[in-house]
């Protein structure tokens, strides 16, 4: 234990949120008796201004050099209290919080047990904070250029926004032309604007911008470095391989459509008149809405949720199919007024601006809506001789419990969106993570929707999750704004929490090298030592746990700090404490 510690302990009542279950005074009394604790106080709202000032004053007047706050979750107010320490000139990392609200008073009823638990958590925090060290943040420069992966609607938007703000942009597109999946659509829901028009405007702006370098038939093969200082290797088919210096990367790699042959009963691939939504879009664009053998369809059946919201394929909603299906109702009815359209849906999700109105307008076209059970898609079979249609779609109608045969000449499958099959390669190359369905994960689902776990790498559009054009564009512009904010500053601060390798202890065993998901660990073959590039490190601590020489330290999560915490939580409560 460090002898020179002067710890200030503060317990928050949080009005009655904490105090109604946890006896704050008792916790205060017990903590006050621990070695190194210079003062222990309870207050009604520690996060309030007077609460923070209490900490600041005590640091100045009582010479505190460590602070423990027992209050809400550190995910809530750790930044607040760190600022209070900074205000008094104390390094913010000399703070430790004990979570006695979310993980104690809010979830327990018995005051005795809750108080005992709060004591243990506070005790652990006090023991831990003794081994805290002042940490300094690291600063680095920020290159103005940005690499945008994917030339769909999201990528185009990011690139155009940045280029028109006079920042250099490299737009990397794997295909030979820009536009992505939007380029495959005819009209868009709910206002029935032409997708072609939407794209043409963006592409024209992109091509006109002198700051924008469009690299078609190209792929990112390697990304090294860290935020503000990336080196990207881009390979162009039949062209040069370039090494680009960029400050940020925006991933807009989009989605791929669900393979409808996977759901056998839909008959896709077996019946030529069972087509996907993209195939219908193509026919609509060509103005030839007819069956495979060139007849005018009298009955069109649209099957929703193909691959989506089905536990066997993808559990999520692909978000655009309902509106697109409704759009087909309009398009078919306007092209063929005599045709009858049937929508076989799971739930009609016509959320968002204009959505419900669009649904109402479609239903007024006498579209027949039949609901089927999630996980029980309709079954398509050839019609019987004498029927006035080519196919019969059998559906277990959910609202009525009836098994219904729907006549159809054309069956349109609303194939859902799925993460690109090679999304894992992209994720590994740029160092971001994927969820179980393969979508890229954002930093925070609500508060940081375009950032990722790798600083300087952003995501926008459908590579993050299925979304419609307005949402993709909004996300793309958000990502562009994030990049511009950093470019404007010209430099970045790297979090002080990262792993460090002590070169005097490293044995060069290379055990850690492959463990780092961010390739922050490099091995110097001459010195036979590994080292961590701090700006790349995200402080997960996986290498620390693995280092057989004990040479890697996780700043702010050291072995010693955690050992102290373990002993701290058990010292009073364990049935066999020594």
């Amino acid at each position: 234990m460090k002898d020179d510690c002067r710890i200030g302990f503060y317990i928050c009542n949080c009005g009655t949120n904490i105090a109604k279950v946890v006896d704050a005074e008792q916790v205060c009394e017990r903590i006050a008796g621990l070695p190194g604790v210079a003062c222990a106080r309870a207050y009604k709202y520690m996060c309030s201004n007077p609460g923070q000032e209490m900490i600041t004053r005590d640091i100045r007047e009582r010479g505190l050099n460590r602070v423990v706050v027992a209050a809400c979750s550190p995910r809530m107010h750790e930044p607040t209290f760190r600022k209070a320490l900074e205000a008094a000139g104390l390094n913010p990392y000399l703070l430790e919080m004990a979570n006695i609200r979310e993980q104690c008073s809010w979830v327990h009823d018995d005051p005795r047990a809750a108080t005992a638990k709060a004591c243990d958590l506070a005790h652990a925090a006090v023991r831990r904070v003794r081994y805290h060290q002042p940490l300094e943040k690291v600063e680095a420069s920020y290159a103005p250029a940005t690499l945008v992966l994917g030339g769909g609607i999201a990528g185009l938007t990011v690139a155009v926004e940045l280029a028109e703000a006079s920042q250099p942009v490299y737009l990397v597109e794997r295909e030979g032309k820009l536009g992505g999946n939007v380029g495959r659509a005819d009209l868009t829901a709910p206002y029935l604007d032409s997708a072609r028009d939407i794209l043409a405007e963006k592409i024209a702006r992109a091509e006109a911008s002198p700051k924008l370098d469009i690299l078609l038939r190209s792929e990112l093969v390697e990304l090294r470095g860290f935020v503000g200082n990336f080196r990207a290797t881009v390979r162009t088919t039949g062209g040069p391989t370039r090494d680009l210096a960029v400050g940020a990367v925006v991933v807009c790699t989009g989605y791929q459509e669900f393979d409808a042959t996977r759901i056998e009963r839909l008959g896709y691939g077996r019946f030529p008149d069972v087509i996907t939504s993209f195939e219908l879009e193509r026919r609509l664009r060509m103005g030839r809405l007819e069956t495979d053998d060139g007849r005018i369809p009298r009955y069109v059946s649209i099957v929703h949720c193909v691959g989506s919201r089905n536990p066997r394929y993808h559990p999520y909603c692909s978000r655009v199919c309902c509106m697109t299906a409704l759009k087909y109702g309009h398009e078919i009815k306007s092209a063929l007024p005599a045709a009858m359209v049937t929508d076989l849906y799971v739930d009609m999700l016509s959320f968002g601006k204009g959505g419900e109105d669009f649904y109402r307008r479609t239903s007024e076209l006498k579209t027949m809506f039949l609901m089927y059970e999630k996980g029980d898609p309709p079954r398509v079979r050839a019609a019987e001789p004498g029927d006035d249609c080519g196919l019969l779609v059998q559906v277990n109608e959910r609202l009525s419990g009836e098994v219904i045969d729907v006549p159809a000449d054309l069956v349109v499958l609303m194939v859902g969106m799925e993460a690109r099959a090679d999304g894992g390669d992209v994720a590994r190359t740029v160092g971001i993570s994927q969820d179980r369905q393969g979508w890229f994960i954002e930093s925070h689902p609500k508060l940081a929707p375009v950032s990722t776990a790798t600083e300087g790498v952003y995501i926008a559009g459908c590579c993050q999750s299925p979304k419609d054009i307005p949402d993709s564009v909004a996300q793309a512009r958000a990502a562009a704004a994030m990049v511009l904010a950093h470019v404007a500053q010209g430099k970045i601060e790297v979090d002080a929490r990262f792993a460090e390798i002590d070169p005097d202890r490293c044995s060069g065993c290379r055990m850690c090298n492959e463990l780092c998901p961010y390739t922050a660990i490099t091995f110097d073959p001459d010195e036979r030592r590994s080292s961590v590039q701090s700006a790349l490190c995200k402080a997960c601590g996986t290498c620390v746990a693995a280092c057989p020489s004990g040479a890697i330290t996780a700043r702010h999560f050291t072995d010693k700090q955690i050992f102290e915490q373990i002993e701290g939580v058990l010292a009073w409560s364990s049935s066999r404490s020594s």
Partner: protein, 382 residues
């Protein structure tokens, strides 16, 4: 076995007067507000759904439209203004055309012109026939007694002949209705005993309209009851006591009392309905199908000519009375021949029958869904 959907079903129903069916999104407010909806008969929502799903065969088998009296609560409560009440009405028209084996009903409902032409043709035939008959066997100047232009006994025989034809036509349609809803449904087995036990329901509902009374609004029931009893009274008078009304000069005040009351009822309710439909005073008067107007027109015509010819007769103007009598018959005959089996008036048979059939279905369903042990117990006692 799968049911075939008919995507054109809504379009077809629209020809019978359905409106805004597509607006319905099955929230169920209509069924919640309906005082009759419950148990195994959940409407109008279920029928609306059948309609939207294009399940023609299911819709044909349903009795639910007949259980509705169009109080209009559902249409008032509908958040989508989908007019479920009016849709139920149109379904009754459509069902009537399904029960009718001749196809005439379907023709009339879908084309008011066809109905009007049929009425005019029947009216003219009646007029011509009666005029020739009268001139051949009687004297235009004689209204009653010997040598009467249209003697009561002859009219009586004519009435009975017509009634037999009507009963046969309607009877066949009623059998078809039974077959569509109960008899032909393999899932429903009704013991013969129940048929007998519940048979009383037909006259009960016919005469009391007691179900109609359960609507929140009592006035439509009262108006309908007055109309129904007036009509019934008139029918009985005509079928059995025509000569009391026609013969003179002695006045049978009992028959006349009934006659006047019935005439008053008919005229009053006709005026009430016409006024209501013009001013759209009540929800069920908001939408008027052509057949509604034709029916009211005939009713008004028949009532008016009936009263006038009676007044002329009693004021001693036999020739004028006879002319009006022919005109009256030119209204009555089409009304009975066309309206009763093929159009709106057929509901006087279908409604009470529907009460009976729905009760039977409920009995059958109850047997089906009874717990196994209970069924075993029933078997043992049997």
């Amino acid at each position: 076995m799968a049911v075939r959907a008919n995507p054109h079903l809504i379009e077809e129903l629209e020809k019978y007067g359905a409106q805004d069916v597509v607006k319905c999104y099955h929230c169920g407010n209509c069924s919640a507000t309906c005082p009759f909806s419950g148990g195994t008969y959940l409407f109008p929502r279920k029928s609306m759904r059948y309609l939207q799903m294009g399940l023609e065969s299911r819709l044909r088998a349903t009795l639910e439209p007949w259980l509705c009296y169009y109080c209009g609560e559902c249409s008032d409560q509908c958040p989508r203004e989908a007019e479920p009440g009016e849709t139920m009405m149109s379904m009754r028209r459509w069902l009537t055309s399904r029960y009718d084996f001749t196809g005439i009903s379907a023709l009339f409902y879908r084309s008011w012109r066809a109905e009007l032409i049929a009425i005019v043709v029947v009216a003219l035939l009646t007029g011509i026939g009666l005029t020739i008959f009268g001139l051949t066997y009687g004297d235009l100047n004689v209204y009653d007694g010997e040598g009467a232009f249209l003697p009561a006994a002859a009219i009586h025989r004519f009435d009975w002949a017509m009634a037999i034809v009507l009963v046969i036509l309607l009877g066949i349609n009623c059998v078809r209705m039974w077959w569509f809803t109960v008899g032909g449904d393999r899932g429903v087995r009704v013991p013969l005993r129940e048929y007998l036990k519940l048979a009383f329901l037909v006259p009960l509902h016919f005469f009391t309209q007691k179900r109609f009374r359960q609507c929140n609004e009592k006035r439509p029931w009262a108006v309908h009851l007055v109309l129904m009893f007036s009509y019934l009274t008139m029918l009985i008078l005509i079928m059995f006591f025509l000569h009391y009304l026609q013969d003179g000069p002695a006045i049978n005040w009992v028959a006349h009392g009934f006659g006047y009351a019935a005439a008053l009822g008919l005229v009053g309710t006709a005026i009430y309905a016409v006024h209501g439909r013009i001013k759209k005073t009540e929800t069920h008067y908001r939408h008027s199908h052509e057949t509604d107007w034709i029916f009211l027109g005939l009713l008004a015509l028949v009532s008016a000519t009936g009263i006038i010819q009676h007044v002329l007769h009693r004021t001693g103007q036999p020739a004028a009375a006879n002319v009006l009598y022919v005109a009256h018959m030119m209204g009555v005959v089409p009304m009975l021949v066309l309206e009763v089996p093929f159009s709106k008036w057929s509901h006087m048979a279908y409604r009470p029958l529907a009460m009976y059939l729905s009760a039977l279905r409920e009995k059958a369903v109850a047997v089906e869904s009874a717990p196994a042990d209970k069924r075993a117990a029933v078997a043992q006692t049997a």
